[in-house]
């Protein structure tokens, strides 16, 4: 319980730090400090409203309090270019990002766990000798380049998949769920999800392999050997099940990581998610939107780190955080 409290406090602290760093970055920016919320193309009335809402005419510390207050009530300002509340724009993109990330991560995990266990089983053979360097090579490949190759082969070359976006133009659906389950959406999802999966599979794979190697030396595996069980049965029933624990808890960690990492994947495939929103907002100096997108991505990242830590402690009684520190 003490650990839970401390861990929650830490997450809150990190969120506060991110928010504060952002606040300072936007205020200390060279040029007009109002540029973070107001640009010339807004009408006189809009500018006036923004000034009051964000207290931009007050001293810095008062601005800071107002800023925190606005954040707590979900008020992120208006996008410069889309002229809509930032919150609404973010919420429209968020599901797309989540679907892409969860799909990519799931593929990565299924592949990583199976291949990782297999490589651990084949320890010392030529398969391991080739497999591990091969995995390292996929980790060294820039995601966006892998995405470009997939696009060149399967989209432009063979024409099997669309070149970008999440839905064909003109497609209309009654609900979000119906959209996600449509064949058109899945066809758009395939290449970006594969790219993301290829980028993410290294972590679960190497983790699975090393925990498998540890587990294979434990008493209950030796016991199973002595009982004369088949090697296959030992690997699947006894070793793999126990090795899965840290790998499963790293899933949440991977989700957070992927939310940051799929910025480039979303850009390559013009996937209408948070990452692409962030890139677009930054390159067009749409500060309120950029700030909002970064905050949301950071929020997911921090929460997922928290979930990973808690899950690890909850699932493995051997881990005691109160003793380590």
């Amino acid at each position: 319980m003490a650990f839970l409290g401390r861990r929650l406090l830490h997450s809150l602290f990190v969120l506060w730090a991110v928010v504060t760093i952002l606040f300072l970055m936007f205020r200390l920016m060279p040029g007009n400090p109002l540029a973070a919320y107001i640009n010339e193309t807004m009408t006189e009335d809009q500018q006036e409203a923004m000034l009051r809402q964000f207290g931009l005419d007050r001293p810095l510390w008062e601005q800071y309090l107002i800023y925190i207050g606005n954040l707590l009530s979900g008020e992120l300002g208006l996008s410069f270019h889309q002229r809509k509340p930032v919150w609404d724009i973010l919420m429209a993109a968020f599901p797309n990002s989540i679907v892409l990330t969860v799909t990519g991560l799931s593929l990565a995990y299924v592949f990583g766990v199976v291949v990782g266990a297999f490589l651990a089983w084949k320890r010392g053979t030529w398969i391991e000798g080739i497999g591990v360097p091969l995995v390292l090579t996929t980790r060294a490949a820039p995601e966006f380049w892998v995405g470009m190759l997939l696009l060149a082969v399967f989209s432009f070359g063979l024409g099997w998949f669309p070149a970008g976006g999440a839905n064909s133009a003109g497609a209309f659906y009654d609900s979000e769920l119906e959209r996600f389950l449509s064949l058109d959406f899945l066809r758009h999802l395939t290449l970006p999800a594969l790219t993301l999966a290829l980028y993410l599979q290294g972590l679960p794979l190497l983790l699975m392999r090393s925990t498998m190697l540890e587990v294979m030396h434990e008493d209950f595996v030796t016991m199973a050997r002595m009982k004369g069980l088949s090697e296959w049965r030992i690997v699947i029933r006894h070793a793999a099940r126990n090795a899965l624990l840290p790998v499963v808890t790293a899933f949440a960690l991977g989700l957070g990581l992927a939310m940051g990492g799929n910025v480039v994947v979303e850009t390559v495939f013009s996937w209408p998610g948070l990452g692409r929103l962030l890139v677009g907002a930054v390159s067009s100096s749409d500060y309120p939107l950029a700030q909002g997108a970064f905050l949301l991505i950071s929020g997911v990242f921090v929460v997922m780190n928290l979930v990973a830590d808690l899950a690890y402690t909850a699932l493995d009684p051997r881990v005691s955080h109160d003793r380590v520190k």
Binding site: F13, V14, V18, T137, V264, L278, A293
Partner: protein, 305 residues
């Protein structure tokens, strides 16, 4: 002042794993491990090409080229004059590739040096002094690790002018905690060793103990983490340039890929344009992985199972 009059200087060195021993291991390693050998060879070629880029290149990487008949030399396939063909705006791809090595080397090495310097110093102070110094520094490290990496780099470039140094800065800000944590835990064990205790007893000050007795033992570890940072820096630079936030005057591999992507090289099937820069990134980064993987075993013999 002679060496023997310094406090702690008479202590036997046998307890330390001498730098000389480690150096000998480091040099002998590639001979036994084919992957380390491959990594080392790739690094050598990479550094040579980067240093002598102007010798290797056949054209100015940013010059817009014209054919003898006066037409713009755009989208040409690989040939005798332009070994890897030309870009959409008529620039020589091979020469860009060669200069890209230089950009990658500069970003990689500077970022690695900054990461090593900050990470080692923080790790040393945190591990050696403990107490509130440790608590504060490690909290800062935890916080830095809890910020999503690439989005942060992107937001940072929104405020600073696009340049290679943003990448170095961002990589340094976000990667030092990893190094610092490992160095710290290593310092915690070294701090308790006999020779450090002896130096303290003979009256050596904190500065002397830290930099003469503790630091040399963790330097190899710092270098290991530094070489991992090289790969990260190159990958980050590529991603940032690809997203269009790189330095427009520096020809890097990420810049080339962005140029190819936005000029429809994919739909035109200009494989000779968008495959080589990516391959170069993969080869250089993986060479770093192979090298560090091999050296982890040299530096921490216990890891071998």
């Amino acid at each position: 002042m002679t060496a023997s009059s310094e406090p702690g200087a008479f202590l036997p060195k046998a307890e330390r794993r001498g730098l000389g021993r480690i150096l000998a291991d480091v040099l002998a390693k590639p001979a036994r491990d084919p992957f380390a050998l491959a990594g080392l060879s790739i690094y050598l070629v990479f550094v040579l090409v980067a240093l002598f880029a102007d010798q290797f290149a056949t054209h100015d990487p940013l010059q817009i080229l014209f054919q003898p008949n006066g037409r713009l030399a755009r989208n040409l396939p690989p040939g005798e004059t332009y070994w890897l063909g030309t870009t959409h705006s008529g620039r020589d791809i091979y020469s860009q590739l060669v200069y890209g090595a230089r950009a990658a080397l500069i970003v990689g090495v500077t970022a690695a040096m900054v990461v090593v310097a900050i990470g080692t110093l923080i790790g040393l102070l945190s591990g050696y002094f403990g107490g509130w110094v440790d608590a504060v520094l490690m909290r800062v490290a935890d916080t830095a690790l809890s910020i999503p990496f690439l989005p942060f780099v992107i937001v940072l470039t929104a405020f600073l002018k696009p340049s290679v140094w943003n990448v170095v800065l961002a990589v340094a800000i976000l990667l030092w905690p990893n190094t610092a944590r490992v160095i710290r835990s290593q310092v915690l064990t070294i701090r308790e060793r006999g020779y450090v205790e002896a130096a303290r007893v003979t009256g050596a000050g904190h500065g002397r103990i830290l930099f003469v007795h503790v630091a040399p033992n963790i330097l190899p570890l710092s270098f290991l983490y530094g070489s991992i940072a090289i790969g990260w820096a190159i990958l980050t630079e590529a991603a940032v340039s690809f997203l269009g936030f790189g330095d427009p005057r520096t020809v890097s591999w990420g810049y080339m890929l962005q140029d190819a992507f936005t000029s429809q090289a994919l739909s035109r099937g200009s494989w000779h344009w968008f495959v080589p820069p990516g391959l170069c990134i993969v080869v250089v980064v993986v060479a770093g992985f192979f090298l560090t993987r091999g050296y982890e075993e040299v530096l921490f013999p216990k890891l071998r199972d």
